[in-house]
């Protein structure tokens, strides 16, 4: 079972995904199964930033700032999102340097 991300933890998009923004949201397609996922605005932004290699703490801070949301709330949301994306195999931990 996936755990909440540690603050310094970084991730990468699975190579078996393709995604794009659709207006403010995003759609992520699992190329192996053909199953797709819609991400709303904030989830899409988190997905984008995680893919850019920002760690969990940086993502939460940036989203909290951009969307004017409480940091604690954003951290909780991010934890839930990362858990779900990892469970679906869409998000992978970055390979150790």
């Amino acid at each position: 079972m996936s755990k909440d991300p540690r603050q310094e933890e970084t991730f990468r998009h699975s190579p078996d995904t393709a995604w794009r923004r659709v207006e403010d949201d995003a759609v992520v397609l699992d190329l192996r199964s053909g199953v797709y996922f819609s991400l709303n605005d904030t989830a899409a932004r988190m997905w984008e930033l995680l893919g850019e290699g920002l760690d969990a703490a940086e993502v939460a801070e940036q989203v909290s700032e951009e969307y004017g949301q409480e940091l604690s709330e954003v951290r909780a949301d991010l934890g839930g999102l990362v858990r779900q994306l990892r469970k679906e195999g869409l998000l992978l931990p970055s390979s150790p340097a």
């Binding site: 990468r12 998009h13 699975s14 190579p15 995904t17 393709a18 995604w19 794009r20 659709v22 207006e23 759609v27 397609l29 190329l31 199953v35 797709y36 996922f37 819609s38 991400l39 709303n40 904030t42 989830a43 988190m46 893919g51 954003v74 949301d77 991010l78 839930g80 999102l81 779900q84 994306l85």
Partner: protein, 380 residues
């Protein structure tokens, strides 16, 4: 709240992006000067069907139709038609016209690179076979064929006003498969309050046979006779909308629309135009405003009736912009009367969504948007 999920329907999701492209494209393409891209020729009013929505068979004083000689003169002198990309021959039933073969051969010669198609009812398999054989012997290649299909079985017959019409259509399709395999064939459904529930069965019929399929709301030709006028009810329109929604989902799945959106958006312009067309048709049935912000009829699209009358849109067929046989095509097209009519139609706010006029407009705005689209990058 942050949310990830699978709730949204595939078609709605894809259409959101297509709509966004349409908006971007409309802004990018606004004011672009363009030549005539589509030429549609009605070669005869004669027809052996009595379709309930049609005026051709009701025209009692119909003349002999367009001759190949007159058409050659008209085409030879026109420069405005040089950039035409699509030429469509229709009627009436064009194959009944004794000039059909020389006219089509002439069009192939004049527009060697254009997409060239014939719209007919395909219900006279023998005549069709004879005409196509003659065209093949003249070296005319790459012709596509279109036909109406307004129901499966008796429902089609009722719309055509002739018993056995559906059997005839099937015989025509069988003959084409046997004798002219590889010919692209597309069926077009005229959506009326009487046959809305037949839409999905017809779509499935075409899909299962590898045929193209389109649909449009019945055109009430103003100022022309018709054996019936149609009155839509809210329930009829919502049934049509429901059937179109099924088609949209099926199209998205069978064409791999999501993969195309994510991996090949630039190569899939034809698919986006198709989905956009169906999406707007659905929304129109469900009560949305007309989708065409700036109708291209009169700028990109020219229609000629068998007497040489120039018109821009089937709904306003009775409003002729001039006569190309008398004035010459270019002079008729450029005349102050024609330009005033084109300007008026560009502001038209009818609840209309016609395959023939909408597709070129969609195609144009989507291509403009896709020029700016970034090539997708896959995760590594």
């Amino acid at each position: 709240m942050t949310r990830a999920g699978r709730a949204e329907g595939l078609a709605d999701l894809v259409l959101r992006q297509v709509r966004a492209w349409e908006e971007q494209g409309a802004a990018l393409a606004a004011g672009e000067e363009e030549g005539i891209r589509e030429l549609h020729l009605e070669v005869t009013h004669r027809c052996d069907m009595k379709c309930v929505m049609c005026h051709h068979w009701l025209l009692e004083d119909a003349g002999p139709g367009l001759s190949a000689r007159e058409l050659r003169r008209l085409l030879d002198k026109s420069r405005l038609l040089d950039r035409v990309e699509t030429v469509v021959v229709s009627g009436g039933e064009p194959w009944l016209d004794p000039e059909a073969v020389p006219i089509i051969a002439l069009l192939r010669e004049r527009f060697p690179k254009a997409s060239l198609g014939v719209l007919s009812h395909l219900g006279s398999a023998r005549l069709l076979e004879a005409r196509l054989t003659e065209l093949a012997s003249l070296g005319v290649a790459g012709l596509w064929l279109g036909s109406s299909m307004d129901g499966v079985g008796a429902a089609h017959d009722r719309m055509r006003g002739r018993r056995g019409a559906f059997r005839g259509l099937e015989a025509g399709l069988d003959m084409l498969g046997r004798r002219f395999p590889g010919t692209a064939v597309s069926l077009n459904f005229t959506l009326t309050p009487d046959n809305a529930s037949e839409l999905w069965p017809c779509y499935a019929y075409a899909r299962d046979r590898g045929l193209g399929f389109g649909a449009q709301l019945v055109v009430e030709h103003q100022g022309l006779p018709a054996s019936r006028r149609f009155r839509w009810t809210r329930a009829g329109l919502s049934e049509a909308g429901r059937q179109i929604a099924l088609i949209l989902e099926d199209l998205c799945r069978s064409a791999g629309a999501l993969e195309a959106l994510l991996l090949r958006p630039l190569e899939s312009a034809g698919l986006w135009a198709r989905l956009a067309y169906w999406g707007h048709l659905r929304d129109l049935c469900l009560g949305s405003k007309p989708a065409m912000p700036d109708c291209m009829a009169g700028r990109r699209y020219a229609m000629l009736d068998p007497e040489g009358g120039l018109f821009f849109c089937p709904v306003f067929k009775h409003r002729k912009a001039g006569n190309c046989l008398k004035e010459g095509f270019d002079a008729a097209w450029r005349s102050p009367m024609a330009r005033a009519l084109a300007a008026e139609l560009s502001r038209c706010r009818k609840r209309c969504w016609l395959n023939c006029v909408a597709h070129p407009a969609l195609d144009r705005v989507l291509k403009a948007a896709l020029r700016d689209e970034e090539v997708p990058v896959r995760a590594r």
